[in-house]
Symmetry: C2
Subunit: 500 residues, 2 copies
Amino acid sequence: MASSLIGRQLVLSLQKNMWLGAAGCRYVSKAAPQSRAECEYDGPSMKTSVPGPRSQELTKQLGEIQNVGAINFFCNYEESRGNYLVDVDGNRMLDIYTQISSIPIGYNHPALLKLMTNPNNLSTLVNRPALGILPPENFPDKITESLISVAPSGMTRVQTMACGSCSNENAYKAMFIWYRNKERGHNTPSEEDLNTCMINKSPGCPDLSILSFMGGFHGRTMGTLATTHSKAIHKLDVPSFDWPIAPFPTLQYPLEEFTRENEQEEARCLEEVEDLIVKWRQKGRPVAGIVIEPIQAEGGDNHASPNFFKGLRNIASKHGCAFHVDEVQTGGGTTGKFWAHEHWGMDDPADIVSFSKKLLTGGYYHKYELQADKPYRIFNTWMGDPTKNLILAEVLNVIRREQLLEEVNRSGKVLLNGLYDLQARYPGVLSRARGQGTFCAIDVCSDETRNSILLKARDKGILLGGCGDRSIRFRPALVFKEHHVHMFLNIFNDVLAQIK
Amino acid sequence: MASSLIGRQLVLSLQKNMWLGAAGCRYVSKAAPQSRAECEYDGPSMKTSVPGPRSQELTKQLGEIQNVGAINFFCNYEESRGNYLVDVDGNRMLDIYTQISSIPIGYNHPALLKLMTNPNNLSTLVNRPALGILPPENFPDKITESLISVAPSGMTRVQTMACGSCSNENAYKAMFIWYRNKERGHNTPSEEDLNTCMINKSPGCPDLSILSFMGGFHGRTMGTLATTHSKAIHKLDVPSFDWPIAPFPTLQYPLEEFTRENEQEEARCLEEVEDLIVKWRQKGRPVAGIVIEPIQAEGGDNHASPNFFKGLRNIASKHGCAFHVDEVQTGGGTTGKFWAHEHWGMDDPADIVSFSKKLLTGGYYHKYELQADKPYRIFNTWMGDPTKNLILAEVLNVIRREQLLEEVNRSGKVLLNGLYDLQARYPGVLSRARGQGTFCAIDVCSDETRNSILLKARDKGILLGGCGDRSIRFRPALVFKEHHVHMFLNIFNDVLAQIK
């Protein structure tokens, strides 16, 4: 344990609010030197408990306009840098939650500031096109340079969308359209199809289904919400579809110590998937597609083995269902590979891969067969936002230039080992440390203790998020380096020491 | 007719491609002088037929990545100005479709260019927050300055969202939550509610419905799509809900000439609405909310009278259904009032008003009762985009400063009168001219002729859109002035003269 933590004195000095201007950067950890490109603060700095008085005042003001029950605090994004989020009370926190895992390369990265001051990009910012009908000249190039340059194996086609839910909604629609055309044997709808669909009735609006997994999260619009099963508060009171829900494997961690038990659990779940597909076909609601996250994120950071996903992919093929991998939270490099599904080592991992968050734009990749046969079937006014494509292209440049995937792998190892150490040290409090890259999590003995740890850590300058019933999820940006890990582990250790 | 059109010679001179640089503006119509703030081109200028060779080349390139069946042409947004959209082949078109009605104050408005070069706004562009948990300091002020400053009567609360579909999806969810709490008599779900909702079953996922209208368009995600009934291609092959669909009045135009007939038609539709509400309650799928557009836009620019909407509002109240007015296409000033529902003259026009397009951000206003009782019920990662709020605030400043609503009313009158003239002149081709402000439409004798007119007009430098089965919809920006109307009418007249 001790070896992975920097000295108490250094941590204390880090908390002395020493601000580094844009010009001067210094090393804060000999173990993991900062790159020259990174200009950020040298540690957290807390002036008030969080939310401080100014945040409380603004929360009250916003409360006149919106429900503010979920507001943590208000931020000073101008002053935030790299891994550090600054709030309106002058508190500076090491951000290991990054706007629900949606900030790829930290706050105010110099490359992005430069990009946004380039006058050539001005027109993109003020003229938002209807991309599906009147794209800008540079649209094919920007898409090629950004999304296509990181396309999953076997996929050359991509459709952008405005957010994660819309990405999955449209991916589901693509799977339904593909499935119905397969059933028809051709692409020409009947008169009955055309007439009945206008009044929401079968066969035009067919009784097809998407198979999802208990604990999964795929969005909150009504189609995606029917496949989300992580927390009741997301689903309560909203009408839904009669679609099959399979168990996601409940594995024991560390995975390598429970190989046999976990294999059995995964085999049980795969069997259940196959049973459900048969059952739903029999009841007249065939499964058009299977949707799954490579790691169930919102639902509690539940992992499964490459073999499980390979098995699932085979079951999908066998039964003629499309296979949709939802990488909205796992995509963008945080697991140590650009896409989490790359860890499965498959040439043909999926028919559809959806994304959002760290990719800055929503959207989905798909195989050629999954492209809607006619225009205006997958369509809306904006279909994404070229401003976000522009930023994404530069983010990808930074990821390559600063070799951030290697960074994630380095930091991730230190983080996971640190979590193993901590759970050994606090066995009554922590358990089930797990992760891939910096996409890590650990369980806490109870929901109550978990929440208390999150608040205490925040008041010490560490911003974390929960997931599942009693997990803490770690979602740093890709610029989270070894020295940040050490800083976190030290402070987290202090917090845990205060928990009885 | 003649009096409303400027001379042929002037039109010809307008087409001589005279480019006005940012510094120099000149008057092109004595009848309607341009304001000094507006620096744009003095007319359309066509170099190729559309799409030109460069557009075709880019379409082929994009075709390797996406379905390009809906692509009209590729644009040069840098060179576009005000009401003129320039394409990649150097063609300059008077844009009366404005990216499916989503450009409020024209292309590259100087005020927006200035806004986006203000270094104070840089941080907003590169740090997209999770607005529901960590808003920026200026968020309450920006929302107050923008959306709240134009809030519909009786509404003080607003929730931003990323796009139109998401806005309506979340508005529906808000209505369902409100309705279920009303049924319960309190806000505390039962154990059964919490358990059943996780597996998509009633009572947790209740059998509630939204009543919508035939011909309506409310979006393409699965919840909103169940209320969209404008074209089969939008709905085909996508599973849907068993929700009631009422007839929208089919009125005769001009409205003032068919008062009695239209009143009868509206009474018939209101009666049907009430019957459907009773019927759906009896079959165990109570109507939680009614959703309607003030003018059915995508569905063919179908109007109804203020009395119809008042009657509908009363029926909603009587039966305990929420009343949701979808202003995604009608909102933002284009009907001559900021919200189309203002034409109804009601103090309490709706429980929910949704918006997107010209408002640049999606979202919905709602009455206090329609606010979800707990956080995280109406929620997603981004919940809008502060960059769009920033631009919207400035757009509203421009609308006020340049008195654009007055402009819309002036131009709208000239446009509608011009359309009346044209349909008198071409009675075999045009009929049913109608509109509010510049939100106008006219019917063409057939789908085929309509499409031919749209293409011919485009090749003469006028960009228009279709809607419904055989309508042309006019959707200029708010900076569309009288002289633009005259220019359009002249060229459109030429096009019509070529139609046999």
